[in-house]
Every structure is written in C-alpha cells, then in structure tokens.
Amino acid sequence: MRSDEKINITNNIDWITVGFYILFVFLGWLNIYAVVYDPEAVSNIFDFSINSGKQLMWIGGAFLLIVAILVIDYKFYSTFAYIFYVISMIILLATIFIGKEVNGSHSWLDLGFVRVQPAEFAKFTTALALARYLGTLGVNIERFDVMFKAGILLLIPCALILLQNETGGMLVFCAFILVMYREGLPGTLLLIGVSVTLLFVLTLAVGNPGQAAATQAAGAIVHAKSGLAQYYSNPILIGLTVLFGLFMLYFIINRLRMTRKQLTNRLIVILTIYVMSIGFVLAVHKIFFEVLQEHQRNRIMVLFDTELDTQGKGYHLHQSKIAIGSGDLFGKGFLEGTQTKFDFVPEQSTDFIFCTIGEEHGWFGSTVLIALYVLFMMRLVFLAERQKDSFSRIYGYSVASIILFHFMVNIGMTIGLFPVIGIPLPFFSYGGSSLWSFTILLFVFLKLDSHRGQVLAGH
C-alpha cells in the first residue's frame, strides 16, 4: 500500500487553492518584469541578470519544494512541530549575532549561494508549534494558563525578531491572535485589542503629530505646568469624556431595572475604563514622542500629514500614492507604467509591488487582485474548517491569518492606510525567502488537507 501512496501524492489536493497559488505566482512574476522592464534596453523576461529572471529561478525552486512537501508523510509536520520550532528559534537567535546587516537590521543569513531571512520561516514553525499545542486534547485556550503558554510560544520569536531590529517581521505574529480567537479566546480580548488600536490611531490623527512634534521638542508633555489644560483641550479626551458620561447617564436612568449593587458595580467598571482610556491617550503621546524611534515615528506621521516632507520622510508613501493614483480606472497598460518602471518608488519589486498593479492596471485591476486574495483567504478558512483534526484546523487558520496580515499591511501601506512596514505581498513580491516560506506554509496545509479523512492520532 505504501507504493500507492507515493504514486498518488497529488491525491485529494485542493486544486482550487493550487490554482490561486499558481495565478498569484505568475502574476507576481509578470509584474516584477514590468518593474525592471526598460524600454531603452531590450530586456527579456527570462534574463537571469534581472529580477524577473531570478524570480523564475525562485519559482522553480518553489516547485521542487512543493514536490518534496507532498512526498513527505503528512504526520511528519505534527510529529516534529516542536523540534522545528526549537531549531528555528536557535537560528533566529544566531542570526542576531552572525546575520548580515541590511538597512540597519540583522535579519539576513548569508548561506553563500543564497541569502535567507529566518524570520520568514519562523512564521511556519511557530504556526506548527501553536497548532500542536492548542490541538492537544484537553488544552482549552479559554483557560488562563493555556493562554499564557500560547503567549510564550508567540513572544519568543517576537522578541528574537525585535532584537534583530526587524519590527515589521515581528508584527506579523499579531496574526496569531485571530487564530486563537477562532479557537475560543474570549472575544472581549479581541475587542479590547481593536479598541486600543483605534484609540491609538485617533489620538495621533486628531492630535496632529506634525504640530505636536514641534511643541514636543522641549518635552513639554510631562513637565509643562499647563500640560493638563492642554490635554483637556484635546478633542479625543473631550470625546471620551462625553461618551463615558452618556454611558453613565444611561445606566443611571435605567437604575430601576437593577439592584443598587449592580448599578454601583457597573458605574465603577465604566469609570475604570474611562480612566484607563484617558491614561492610554496620554501614554500614547509619551510613547509616540519618547519611546518610538525617530524613523518609526516618521513612518506614522506621514500617514496623517500627506504633505509632510514629500522629498524626505514622506517620499516613500508619496511616490507610492502617485504611482497608484495615476493609474485611473483601467491603468496605463502592461509595461506602460512610468512611475514604477523608472524607480520613483523604492523597493519596487519587493514591498511595493502593488504599485505596479495600481499604475498599470488601474482601479479595475487592483480590485480584481484584491478580490482574488479575499476569495483565496476565504477558501483557506473553508478548508481549515473542514478538517477533522484540530492540528490541521489550527494550522490552516494560521496560514490564512498570516496571509491576511501580510495582505492587509502590504497593500495598506502603499495606499497610506498603514505605516510603511517592510513586509512582502504573499506569492507576489520578488524574493526567494518570502516565496519559499509562503510556499512551504501553504503546501504543508494542502498536504494536511489531502489527508483530512485521517485523524492524526497520538496527541
């Protein structure tokens, strides 16, 4: 029977997902060619000296990986999940010291023939480890100790990647919150997370960080005597006060429906949240101006003030928006983009590949691509849900969530909805590390899915 298994490695593979994969990789490759295309020099899409040719090499490698993944026994991944995790953490740790410095971060390992970014693969091993842990019978995320242990699993790679000075790569691990939410993490935690983020953004948006930066130079926030009065003129704080005042008024009016004790308890809870919110808003100012590094602050500031220094700090975003914004309804046509082709947008083939779509294929093309990604991710959720085995399901959700996070941040930053965090568009962006790690991530899941009838025993 073993020989049968080997012959039918593609048995039960979800061809719809494979189709999406091939489509994204192919479109990505075409767009990478559009970036490097030079109308003056007759360039060939297969030319190995340019990015499109190199990407073709990476794609070839990815297909070899796929074959390997499909050949390897499906139980292999769950069995060795923890070992993979530990090995990858060791590599991450080592990279801090022996990594090649690129743009101020030590996140690249030079293997001689190729350079890889271990953080890309850490996503995969962390997903395996988390699935293994949460998939264990009797482990329930709603329990505090489980929550804590799962948190540790995630925080270790986060800390190591942060030490590599690669903030963008670290933030990707936020994606796992969605996985845990599916597995039963209390919804309020997700709600709090969203509220905190919203408040953070609003504070900076309304507080006009561009102006505040000037007044902040002297550290006025903590020391100035007029400080408090200044903060209470902040519209966010006024808004919060009004909002919570209305809440309390609502409960006071409806006091007849509850006991005195219930009312007191609720008012105390509301007041506590109110005080915490105020504290948070004040803290954001402090964090923003005193904790964040200059370049991180700049990346956020340019989001709110579009005219801010378009030649310097805001250059990246400004050029990206010009490229996309000039695409109009149907775009300039394949290879006809001027902004992307002529290097006005930096990091064009990798992090800003979406600009090429926006410029050359317009709103129509962008919408089609976004719709394809959304359908693809929804397909992954569908596949995850049909797993009988919880390891496969949790792993599947991890894959979907990681792709969602990359999709959201990558496109969001090119159109000014997210700070510029250097993370690639899955399957699309130029680069071997990124393509291979996403290929492994996805096809391990498809391998698991092809054996969805069989339960992974032994956990």
Binding site: L178, T338, V381
Partner: protein, 611 residues
Amino acid sequence: MQERRFIVQAIMIAIGLIYVIRLFFLQVLDSSYKIEAEINAIEKVVDYPYRGLIYDRHGDLLVFNTPVFDITIVTKEFKLADTALFCTRFGTTPADFKKLMSDIKNPAKNIGYSRNKPQTLFKQLSLEDFAHVQDYMQDYPGLYTQARTVRSYTYASAANALGYIGEIGPKALKAQESSYYKQGDYIGQSGLELYYEKELRGRRGVKYIMKDVHGVLKGKYRGGAYDTISAPGENLISTFDIQLQQYGEKLLQNKIGCVVAIEPQTGEILAFVSSPSYDPNLLTGRKYSANYHELEKDPYKPLFNRPLMAMYPPGSIFKLAQAAVALQEGAITDKTRFPCDKSLVNCHQHPSPQDLRGAIQWSCNPYFYMVFKKMISRDLVQNKFKDTEINYDEWRRNMLTMGFGQKMLVDLPSSKSGNIPSNAYYDKIYGDLHWKFSTIYSLSIGQGEINVVPIQMANLAALIANRGWYITPHFIKSIGKDGHVLEEYKKKHVSSVEPKYFDPIIDGMAQVVLGGTAYWLQVKDIEICGKTGTAENPHGDDHSVYIAFAPKQSPKIAIAVYVENAGFGAMTAAPIAHLMIEKYLKDTITKAPLEKMILEKNLLHKVKIKP
C-alpha cells in the same frame, strides 16, 4: 466556536472592501496624482525646426542660422558648493547670479516656474563661449544645454526689409489665435521675418521623453504616440539684387532718403534702400536688447522704414501722372500747348510755349497748372463748385488706379497709404461746395495736400514703363521647394489710362535726359527715361526727387530716388538713379567723378533733428 469562522471571513471581506473604496478615491476621483506622475517621469522636449533661409535673386545667401546654446537649470537638482568658483567659470558675479536665481524662482517674473523643469539660466552662448563652459557643466548637477539657432546675415545690408526675429513678447503671446508660441520662443518681429513668419518657422516638433528617478532618459513616452515631428522652415528666394542693394546703400551714405528699384514686368523689388540703416547682425543673439535700444535712440532713425513709411510730397514727378489722367479724360491732347505764364505759378527759364513732351522735358509748372485746371474745370454743370467736385472725383479715381492713395500690398508688415485727398477731405476743411480749382491748384505740380510714399513713386515709374499696368512690388519671388509666390504678386493691376497715352509721356521722359532737366546725366549706350522733381520742404532745404526707367525699349528697371534736403532733383536724386541703372544694366560705372561726388556728399548736417 465554529461560528467564529464567519467573523474571520467578514474581517477579510471588510479589509478588501475598505481597500477597494480607498483605491477608488485615490485612482479615479483624485486626479492630482496623475499630474504629479507626469511631472515625475515625462519631460517635454521641444524640437526647434530649422528656420528657412533667404537668398537673393541670383542665389546669394542673405539670411542663415548660427547655432547658439542656452544653459538651463533644474533648480531641484542644482547643487552649488562654491558659488565664487561657479561665477568665475561662467563669467558672472555672485551678486548678478544671486539676482538671476531669485528672478528664476520668482513665479511673478518667471511665469510657469517649476523646480522640476529646466529654466533658462544663460541665454544664447556662442559656440565659442559655450566651448569654454562645456567642461564645467558636469560639475553642476541640474545644468542642461539647449541648442538653438540665431539668425545671421551675410551682408550688413537690406536690414529694413529683412527685419529681425526676437523673443515673443507677453502681448503677442496672449494675442495669438492658436497656442503655437510658448514663452521664450523666437518669432519674426519685423520685415520679411515677420511677414513670412509662418513659412520661415516651419513646424515645431514635440517629443515626450520618459526619464527615471535619476533624470536618466528612458525612451519615448507611449512609443512616441504623442510626439510631433518637426518640419524645417521653407527657404525664400528674394527679389533682391544684393550687389545693387549694397551699391544703393553706399551711394546714400551720409544722406537721409531712400531708393526703390523695381523690375517693371514682374514687380520684383531689386533694391530697397532706406538711409541711414543698420547692420542686421546687431539685432541677433545676446546683444539684441542693448543694440535695439541704441538704434531706437539714434536721432537719424535707422529703424524707420522710409520707402514704405515716409510720406512725402511727390513734387514734379507727379506731373507724369497728371499728364496721363488728363490725356485719358480728354482734358488735353499731346499737341496741347500752354505758354509758361509765371504769373500763374513760378517756373524756371526755358523755351516757351511747349507741348506735352516739351513741358515734361522742361518740367514747366504753368503748363501743368493749366492741365490740372482743364481737368478740374470742364464745365459739365453750371455750378462752378459742383463742377469741381465732379471732375476732381473723376481725377482722383484715375489716380487711385495708378496705385496712389492706398496701401501698396507689399510683403512687408507695415506700409503707409499716402494721401490723395477725397472730396470729403476738402469738404471737411473748406465746407461742402466751398472749394474749387483755385483752392487746390498746388496739386497740379505735386505739392499741397497730396502725399506719396517712395514705393508708390517707384511703382509709377514701373507703370509708365509698362504703359499702364503694374504688379504690386514685392520681395519674395519663390517660397519653398515648389517655388510658389503669393497670389497677389501674380495679378496685373491695370490703370484706367490706356497704353497709347503713355507714348508722349515716355517721349517727354526721354527728352528729360537727352536735353532737359537731367541732360548732363546721360549714360553711354542706355536710353534712360526720367523725371526730376524738387519737393518744397517747409522745414528746410528742398527734397531732391527722381524717377526713371531704362532702357526706353523693353525696360528692365524702374527706380525712384528721394533724398531729403538735397536740393534740385537733378543734383542728387537723379545722379544716384543713373549710377544705379548703369550698375544694374552694365555692371560698370563710366562716370567715376560723378560717383565720387555723390559718395562725398554729406547732408546729415542739414537735417533738423527733433530732440
């Protein structure tokens, strides 16, 4: 927890939707990014066509193009470490340079300024000057070169006809019907350069070129779909005989006046002298403004185009036109004799009485007084005043058919019409039916209210030579490769005077040279028909006037000479005309002393200069 899958999927859809909406605002609704993208990557490069050349009638090159270089600056890219060194290299001073830069960056002075686009820094460096700075260019990012051409003139001659080109002014820029011209473009400002601007300029080409973030050119935008190809301007062959032109200018040196020489059969202008004039090369290149200012201040008005613009009383040469009209209208015949009655109007000593031929030969004033009287007082109606009005109107109508009192449609932009007063004109001065012959008799000898521009005098000579018709005098005989001419210059204008009436007039003109007022100016082997004139000038010495054509049989040249404050026609104007006729027909000068006398004549001190 399975229901949470829907929340997860809802989040995916929500993010997708938000992005699609955001993109709609960015890409479709907001057009500012499209403009910025063009500023970023597309440069409009103007391909200036080669301006057409101008030749003389024998193929001598008169006007051509010389390359010059503008140095332009893209202020965004420009970086300057050592201002002093830069200024030394480029031959300016730090103060001037600072002023120049602030002017460039001032949108009020430099309309359409953009820090991303080339602005003119130094204009029209000659090939030699450019060679000096060329090596330094690469030390300064943001400096570029724009090659252009300026006009050059082979001969310091014919400036008033050729004209000049210059940067288009703000008014002309606004007034243009199409939006062909842009700020900084060169356009014909006067003369043939202005009149034939459309033919000479050709069609400008525009190339849209893409450049990358470093400003490196990256080929044609959209494969050149929006590019237009420049077409060189058309060459013109002028009617000038540049040798004759130069000789005429030489003869008129130190005198104020003009010469117009025409080939009668074609109306082609052989020479067109306005004196004093200027070297047309003064109004090209960097010195244009300074030189123009100098010329404008010059009290002798070298920019004034006398042959077309100076309105003079014609004097005695007008007697020829009088004779023609009177013969045509039957007021006299060629046999009609009148005595030289000096009580009517002053005259000089000559045999009397004379018939028409003799009267022309001796330029008898009383004779033409009587001719005009006969013409004006034909007693067609009882009322003397009414009769004057009818006859004068008839006389004027005849005069107009000979090219007087209206603009000659010469191919130069500005020309005066002169004045043959209308009935209304006299009615206005004296009142309706309050004027008659005795009021206007001075017209009979070309004085009084009539005014004629010199080109009309030359045209009269041509008309007589042709026995009653003329082709409007013009400068360009062939345009472009196909060699066409403007329609106006193919048309024969036939006067109201029948050809037969010109015979006695021509006989008289021949007698002028053979034994009349210009007898001492006979030229060996050339039978010249001429008529002298001495125009009274209330402001000073009389003006010397002469018109002529030669040879009498099949005329080749008709000429008019007008010299201010030069006395009798036979003293200055006639010698100049005869020297030029001989030069043109024989290419020799047999009377060297006469030529010397003319060349040495300096009349500038006689001209009263208005401060």
